[in-house]
Amino acid sequence: MSQTGVLADIETRDEDSLALPWNVVVHNDPVNLMSYVTMVFQRVLGFPRDKATKHMLEVHHKGRSLVWTGERERAEAIVEQLHGYLLLATIEQAEM
């Protein structure tokens, strides 16, 4: 393979990597109240109450819940808001 071919391959993989969506994941912690987490999901993510409750229960029972997927900039903005409410949230790149 030529040098040019290697570079092209790397560039293609980088573009693929950048194009992958990012997941916002909320993790369980023993402090945040269930009612509070539900309220925050409604406010930050615009979830209706039943969807917010479903994700809150997923956090509570499974330890984590994927609450949003999309472009990185928006994912970071959501996580910043969730951290502002003191929820434990992380950003993960979605699997290919």
Binding site: P30, V31, Y36, E76, E80, L86, L88, T90
Partner: protein, 160 residues
Amino acid sequence: MRFRRHSADAFELCDIHPLFAELLAELPRAAARHDNARARIYPDPFVSADGPAEASEDWCEHVHPELERLFAASRETVSADLGESPAGSTASRCVIPRAHIDAWLNALNQARLVIVEENKFGERELSGSEPPDLSTRRGLSLLKIHFYAHLQELLVEAAG
């Protein structure tokens, strides 16, 4: 202690037992002890991502100062509400304007997170049904967490 509507735009905590009035007065100070719980209050959102280390550094540089300002503003709002209560910071009543509910929820959460980290309370201890042993500092800290959680529940309902 009772929680009731004070006016169209405010709620009121009244008939507060002196012990709980003390715990209420301590809220802004307890919430400000961030050095004891920094990793939890300012978590790294990229901890589980395979992204570059610069992402975490950028987050610390740009987002943490914003969060610090938000958290400090919440504590100041709560301090002002407590200070404006008729008989001072350990008054038996406190008026909470509806517009301040978010600040109270935030300050209460800061305080609870700090106290949990300081005492290394686990989920089992926090959700236990046994009353805390008030003859120990640890028991008093647990009482404080439960009291603040009770206030949060009342305020979440009020915010609804």
